[in-house]
C-alpha cells in the first residue's frame, strides 16, 4: 500500500458517486465502490467533514480517495498494491 496525498479531479455519476478520477498523467475509471464512509475531521481546528471511498478501478487498481466538504476538493489518499 502506498500513501499519497494529492489533489485529484473527480467526475460523478447520476447518483452523485465517483465515476472516474484523474490527476495529471493518469485517469482511472471506477468499476465498483467497495466501501464508503464519513470522517468528522478535526472539527475543533475548523476542519470540515470528509467522505471517503474505497474504489476498484477498471484496471484492477484499489484506491482510497476522499472528498473534503469544507474545501470542496477531492484527494487521493492511498493506492493498494
Amino acid at each position: 500500500m502506498k500513501v499519497r496525498q494529492r489533489q485529484i479531479e473527480v467526475l460523478l455519476d447520476q447518483q452523485g458517486e465517483p465515476a472516474s478520477f484523474s490527476w495529471p498523467g493518469q485517469r482511472e475509471v471506477v468499476a465498483e465502490i467497495i466501501d464508503k464512509w464519513w470522517e468528522g475531521g478535526r472539527w475543533w481546528a475548523g476542519e470540515g467533514e470528509m467522505i471517503v471511498y474505497r474504489l476498484l478501478t477498471r484496471r484492477g487498481g484499489l484506491y482510497e480517495i476522499h472528498f473534503h466538504s469544507g474545501e470542496g476538493t477531492w484527494w487521493l489518499d492511498r493506492v493498494f498494491d
Binding site: D35, W37, W38, G40, R42, W44, V52
Partner: protein, 1020 residues
C-alpha cells in the same frame, strides 16, 4: 415511514449528546409516531421519556442497550409492562453480579428473562455484527441461531447505518444471514444526538469518557457526525437496498405498547393485623391526648378532616411507615426532627413525627396534602448525623432488601466541573484548569461566558482567545448528566419487589440505588422517605448530654420559648453557631430586628431567602415590626392572615389563605394555585390565571381593582415563598440552639467543635466566638486531652483527635497506654505508645508535651535523634518564636487555644491606623475607618436591585466585622475579594440596631508572611 428503535439520551452517560427534550422535539418535527429509548445498561430516562414523548403525541417504547459478557451490545425493547419488568431484572443482574461500573449479562440470564421482549442484534458492537466484521461467518451464524431459538419471531437482525468503514459489506452479510436463517431485518440509526451539529459534543463526551484529548486517536471516539436523528427520508436513502428492514421498524413499534403505568400507588402495606386506617386513627387519637390533654372541638374537627383526606387518598400506610421509623429512633434514643411541609399536619404532630403544633399555628393541612392535588405525601426527617444510617438499616431490615433502595441523583456539569473536564480534553494543563475553575462562582456551565462580563475578577479572561473554544464546549455540555449518584437521604420503599419497577445498581458506598431520582420515583407511584443527617442534632445531643451530667433537671424538650437572656443575645447579633441564624445576613437582621418571641425567629428563618430579599420584603418587615412604619392591608380580609408578619407575605401558607379568603378557593384549589404560580413559564399563563382569580374574587364580593392588586401581590411572591411549617420546625431548633449558646456556652461550643465541619464558620472563628463569651480554651495536653473537645467550668479542652494525621487507631493507642498512668515525658511516651514519627512530631508542635517540657524545638530534636524508644536528653536550644508556635498550632489543629494571626500583625497595622474590631464599638456611625482581617466566606447573594453586592466577613484577634462591597467598589477590587486570604478594607462604619458593619470603599491585600519570619515546615 420509519421508527428509530436504537436511541441514546444523555443517560447513556458521556455518550448521548442531546437533552431528551431536544431528541423528542426533533422526533416530533420529523413526524415520528413512535420512538424507542435504549440507553447503556440503564433506564434512568424512562419516566421523563414517557412523559415528554406522550406530550408530543409520540408512542414511547422503553428499551435498553445492554452489555453482554465479553463486552458486546444487544438492543432490547419492551413490548409492554411485562417486558419492561424483565429489562429491569436483566439490568439489575448485570450490575449486581459484576464489579461496580462493569455491568454485563450472560446468555443464560437473557434466556431466563426473555418474555415480553423484542431483541435486535445490536450495533457494530453486537456479537453477530462484530463476528462478521472479524470474518467469522460461522460464529455469527451460530449466535444468530441461538437468538432465533430463544426469541423466535421477536428477534431481528439489526442493520446499523452504513457510514463507517465496512458498513455496506456488513449489512450485505447480515442480510444474507437473515435470508439463510429466515430472520427478519430491521434498520436502525444508532442515534446519539438530535442534529448533525451536535456531533462535536458527542466526540467531546467520548474524550471525557476515555480520558483522551481531542488530538488523540481512540477507537471509541465517533468517527463522524452521522449518528443524529435522521428523518424517514434520509433513512430510506441510506437503506434503499433493504426496504423490508425499514418497514419492520414500524412493525416492531406497532407491537410495543407504552410500558410504564405512572401514578399508581405502589406503597408498601404497613405490616399490621388491623386495617391500616384503623391503626392510624388509634395512634393519632392516643397521640392527640398526649399532646393536648383533653381534646377541644377544634382539635377533633381538624384531626378528623386530615384523617378523612388521608383515607380518601389511601395513604394511611405511608404515615404508619413514618411513625414506625420515628418510634424506632425514639426507642434507640436517636434525636430527630421532622421538617418541611409535613409540619402542616396535625396528624404528623400527634404521631410524634414533627414538633410543630399545626393547629395552634393555624397551618393549613392542604399545603401538605390535598384531594385536589392528590399528590403523594413526602415527609423529610432530620436525624443525628451519627445514627442516620442506623435508622436506614432498620428500614431495610423491616421491609426487606428487595423492597428498599436509595433514590439516585444525577451529577451534572456545572461551571467548575465542566472547565476541568472539558479543559483536559482540550489539552490544557491540570494546574491551569484548577486555578481557572476556582475563580468561577458556582454557576451553570452555560453561564460562564456571561460571567466574564458580570464579575470583574473574571474580566481579564474575556480577551483570552485560547479559552473561547473551552467556554463554547462548556456551554454545550451544561446540564448533561455525567454519572449516577446517591441521593443524600432519600429511600424508596416499595410494596412490590423493586426490580419490577426499577433496576438497582451499587452506589459507591455499597448501598443499592434505584435508577430514578426523587421526582421520577414519585411519578412511578413509589413511596419516598427522606431520612436526612443533620449535624446540628448531633451537636444538640452532645451538648444536652454534657449539660445533663452536671444538671439532672435539664430538659431540651422543655426549654422555655420566652427566655429573655436568649433574645437579648440574639438582639446583639451574637449568633455564631446558632442553627439557621449565624450567617452575616442573619446576624445583621437579628441585630436590627430585636426578636422578642418565637414568631420573630420563625419569621427570620423565612426572611433571609432570595425571595423576600428580591421582593423587597425585608425592610418593610423590620420597619413595621419596630413600629416605625404603619402596616396597611389592601383589604380587611388580609389582616388576620398577614398580621403576624406585619402585612408582608412571608409564607406559602399565607398565599393559600389569601386565595381562600379573597378568591373563595377551597384549600386544595388554593394550593394548586400556589403550585401553578410558582412554576409559570410565560406572561400569558400568568395573565390567564390572574383573570380567573379576579373573576372569583368578584363573585366573593371583592372589587376588580383590589382583586387585581392582591393577585399581583401573591403572584410576585408565590415563586419564592417559604413553607411556614418548615420555618416553624427550623425556627424552634434555631431558638433552642441559641438558648444553649446563651446559657451553656462551654457545652454548646465544645459540641459544635466536635462535629465540624458544619455551619458557616471555620473552627477558629467558633473558638474566637467562644473565647469572646468568656470560655478559656485549654491547649492539647498529652495527659489531659481526650478524643473530643471537653467542656469544663468555663473551659474547653482541645482534643487529641484534632491533631493532624491522628487516626482513630493512633488515638486509641494513646488513651489505652495512658490508662496505666500519665506520661512522664517524651521518652516515656515513645516507649509506651507506638506511633508514626510524624504524628509524634505534630503532637510536639501543637504543644501537647508543653506540660512536661516547655521547649518544643528541643523535643523535636530529641525525637529526631532517637531510635524510637531510646531518646537522648533534650538539648539547650532556642525554642520557636510565639509566632512560629502559633502557625504550627493553626496549621496542625485548624484552630489555636489563643492568639490570632492578625494579632501578630497588629503592631504594624496599628502604625497605619488600622483598627481592631473591638475599637469600632465606641466610634460613631458614618466614621471613615480602616480594618484588616482574615477573609471568611465572601459571597454574592441575589439582591433586589439585581446589581452585584459582595458580602464578606473579616476576622481579627478581637472579633469579626461584616463588610459590604457595592458594585462600584466591587468592579475595582473584586479580583481581591475571592482569592486573597487576608485584606485591609477602608470604608465607612455603619451601625444599624445593635449591629455594626463596614461599607467598603477600597480593598488591599494583606500579606500574611510579612510580619515575622515564616515558620519552617514540620520535620519528617
Amino acid at each position: 415511514m420509519f421508527v428509530h428503535l436504537h436511541v441514546h439520551s444523555p443517560f447513556s452517560f458521556l455518550d448521548g449528546a442531546s437533552p431528551l427534550e431536544r431528541l423528542i422535539d426533533r422526533a416530533a418535527e420529523l413526524g415520528m409516531e413512535a420512538l424507542a429509548l435504549t440507553d447503556h445498561d440503564n433506564v434512568c430516562g424512562a419516566v421523563r421519556f414517557h412523559r415528554l414523548a406522550q406530550g408530543k403525541g409520540i408512542k414511547p417504547i422503553q428499551g435498553v442497550e445492554i452489555t453482554l459478557a465479553g463486552g458486546g451490545h444487544l438492543t432490547l425493547l419492551a413490548k409492554g409492562p411485562g417486558g419492561y419488568g424483565n429489562i429491569c431484572r436483566l439490568i439489575t443482574k448485570a450490575h449486581l453480579d459484576n464489579p461496580r461500573g462493569t455491568p454485563q449479562i450472560t446468555p443464560e440470564d437473557l434466556a431466563r428473562h426473555k418474555d415480553g421482549l423484542i431483541v435486535l442484534s445490536g450495533c457494530r458492537r453486537g456479537p453477530i455484527a462484530s463476528s462478521l466484521l472479524q470474518g467469522d461467518y460461522d460464529g455469527a451464524r451460530e449466535l444468530a441461531e441461538w437468538y432465533k431459538r430463544t426469541w423466535g419471531q421477536d428477534f431481528y437482525l439489526e442493520l446499523p447505518p452504513p457510514h463507517l468503514p465496512g458498513g455496506r459489506r456488513l449489512n450485505r452479510l447480515l442480510a444474507e444471514l437473515g435470508d439463510v436463517l429466515a430472520i427478519p431485518l430491521v434498520a436502525a440509526g444508532n442515534v446519539h444526538y438530535a442534529e448533525k451539529a451536535d456531533y462535536p459534543v458527542c466526540d467531546l463526551l467520548a474524550c471525557l469518557r476515555t480520558g483522551t484529548t481531542l488530538e488523540d486517536v481512540h477507537p471509541l471516539r465517533p468517527l463522524n457526525g452521522e449518528d443524529y436523528l435522521k428523518s424517514s427520508r434520509e433513512m430510506e436513502t441510506l437503506f434503499a437496498d433493504y426496504p423490508g428492514a425499514l418497514e419492520n421498524s414500524c412493525k416492531i413499534a406497532a407491537a410495543c405498547e407504552p410500558a410504564l403505568d405512572l401514578g399508581r400507588n405502589l406503597f408498601p402495606r404497613y405490616p399490621t393485623e388491623e386495617k391500616a386506617s384503623h391503626l392510624l386513627r388509634r395512634l393519632v387519637w392516643d397521640g392527640a391526648h398526649q399532646r393536648y390533654g383533653s381534646l377541644s372541638t377544634g382539635v377533633r374537627e381538624r384531626l378528623e378532616h386530615e384523617l378523612a383526606i388521608i383515607e380518601q387518598l389511601d395513604v394511611a400506610d405511608y404515615f404508619l411507615v413514618v411513625w414506625d421509623v420515628v418510634r424506632f429512633a425514639n426507642a434507640k434514643g436517636i434525636r430527630y426532627a421532622g421538617r418541611g411541609s409535613a409540619a402542616d399536619s396535625a396528624v404528623a404532630y400527634c404521631l410524634g413525627i414533627t414538633e410543630v403544633d399545626a393547629i395552634a399555628r393555624g397551618l393549613l393541612f392542604e399545603r401538605f396534602l390535598s384531594l385536589e392535588r392528590a399528590q403523594k405525601p413526602d415527609i423529610d426527617i432530620d436525624f443525628d448525623a451519627r445514627y442516620r444510617d442506623l435508622v436506614a438499616d432498620y428500614v431495610y431490615d423491616k421491609y426487606g432488601a428487595e423492597h428498599v433502595a436509595s433514590v439516585c441523583t444525577f451529577n451534572t456539569f456545572r461551571a467548575r466541573s465542566a472547565i476541568r473536564e472539558v479543559g483536559k480534553a482540550l489539552g490544557f494543563a491540570p494546574e491551569e484548569l484548577d486555578a481557572l475553575a476556582k475563580r468561577f462562582p458556582h454557576i451553570p456551565a452555560d453561564a460562564i461566558e456571561p460571567a466574564l462580563d458580570h464579575f470583574p475578577e473574571l474580566s481579564f479572561l474575556k480577551g483570552e482567545r485560547r479559552y473561547r473554544l473551552l467556554w463554547r464546549l462548556c456551554a454545550a455540555v451544561a446540564g448533561l448528566p455525567r454519572f449516577i449518584g446517591t441521593h443524600l437521604g432519600g429511600l424508596v420503599i416499595s410494596g412490590v419487589p423493586l426490580v419490577e419497577i426499577t433496576p438497582l445498581q451499587q452506589a459507591a458506598k455499597g448501598a443499592l440505588i434505584a435508577q430514578f431520582d426523587k421526582d421520577d420515583i414519585e411519578d412511578l407511584g413509589l413511596l419516598k422517605l427522606d431520612l436526612l443527617s443533620l449535624r446540628t442534632l448531633s451537636v444538640v445531643e452532645d451538648a444536652v448530654a454534657a449539660i445533663s451530667r452536671a444538671d439532672d433537671d435539664f430538659s431540651y424538650l422543655h426549654i422555655p420559648l420566652d427566655d429573655e437572656e436568649t433574645y437579648q443575645m440574639l438582639g446583639r447579633g451574637e449568633t455564631i453557631g446558632v442553627f439557621q441564624l449565624e450567617s452575616p445576613a442573619q446576624r445583621a437582621l437579628q441585630a436590627r430586628l430585636g426578636a422578642k418571641g418565637i414568631e420573630d425567629i420563625v419569621a427570620s428563618v423565612a426572611l433571609i431567602r432570595p425571595g423576600p430579599i428580591k421582593g423587597d420584603m425585608v425592610e418593610p418587615f423590620i420597619a413595621r415590626r419596630q413600629g416605625k412604619e404603619e402596616t396597611e392591608y389592601l383589604h380587611p380580609r388580609l389582616e388576620p392572615i398577614l398580621a403576624k408578619t406585619y402585612g408582608v407575605i412571608l409564607f406559602q401558607e399565607q398565599v393559600l389563605e389569601i386565595a381562600i379568603a379573597v378568591g373563595g378557593f377551597s384549600p386544595g384549589e388554593a394550593d394548586n394555585l400556589r403550585k401553578v404560580l410558582s412554576s409559570l413559564r410565560s406572561q400569558r399563563e400568568l395573565d390567564a390565571l390572574g383573570r380567573q382569580f379576579i373573576a372569583r374574587a368578584q363573585t366573593n364580593g371583592i372589587d376588580a381593582q383590589r382583586a387585581e392588586a392582591i393577585f399581583s401581590l401573591i403572584a410576585g411572591y408565590a415563586g419564592y415563598g417559604f413553607c411556614e411549617a418548615h420555618a416553624a420546625a427550623f425556627g424552634t431548633t434555631a431558638y433552642k440552639t441559641a438558648y444553649l449558646a446563651a446559657h451553656y456556652p462551654a457545652e454548646f461550643f465544645a459540641a459544635l467543635l466536635n462535629h465540624q465541619p458544619m455551619g458557616f464558620y471555620p473552627p477558629q472563628t467558633i473558638r474566637l466566638e467562644a473565647s469572646r463569651r468568656g470560655i478559656t480554651f485549654l491547649p492539647v495536653d498529652i495527659n489531659e486531652s481526650g478524643p473530643d473537645y471537653l467542656p469544663g467550668e468555663g473551659t474547653i479542652r482541645i482534643s487529641l483527635g484534632q491533631v493532624k494525621d491522628m487516626g482513630a487507631q493512633h488515638l486509641e493507642a494513646i488513651l489505652k497506654a495512658r490508662e496505666a498512668g500519665p506520661f512522664a515525658g517524651l521518652e516515656d511516651f515513645c516507649r509506651r505508645v507506638r506511633l508514626p514519627r510524624n504524628i509524634i512530631a505534630n503532637l510536639i508542635l501543637v504543644g501537647a508535651f508543653d506540660g512536661l517540657h516547655p521547649n518544643r524545638r528541643a523535643l523535636l530534636w530529641q525525637l529526631g535523634r532517637g531510635d524510637g524508644t531510646e531518646l537522648l536528653p533534650p538539648p539547650q536550644i532556642e525554642d520557636f518564636s510565639p509566632y512560629q508556635k502559633f502557625l504550627y498550632e493553626y496549621s496542625l489543629l485548624g484552630l489555636t487555644a489563643g492568639g490570632h494571626l492578625i494579632g501578630f500583625l497588629r503592631p504594624k497595622l496599628g502604625q497605619r491606623g488600622i483598627l481592631a474590631r473591638a475599637q469600632l464599638d465606641s466610634l460613631p456611625d458614618g466614621k471613615k475607618v480602616q480594618v484588616a482581617g482574615l477573609v471568611i466566606r465572601p459571597h454574592r447573594p441575589p439582591t433586589k436591585s439585581g446589581r452585584t453586592v459582595v458580602f464578606l466577613t473579616l476576622e481579627d484577634e478581637t472579633g469579626i466585622i461584616d463588610v459590604t462591597v457595592f458594585e462600584n467598589v466591587y468592579r475595582r477590587f473584586g479580583h481581591l475579594l475571592f482569592s486573597h486570604p487576608a485584606l485591609i478594607i477602608e470604608g465607612t462604619l455603619q451601625k444599624r440596631g445593635a449591629g455594626l458593619g463596614i461599607i467598603a470603599r477600597r480593598a488591599e491585600s494583606l500579606p500574611l508572611g510579612d510580619a515575622r519570619s515564616p515558620a519552617p515546615s514540620p520535620p519528617g
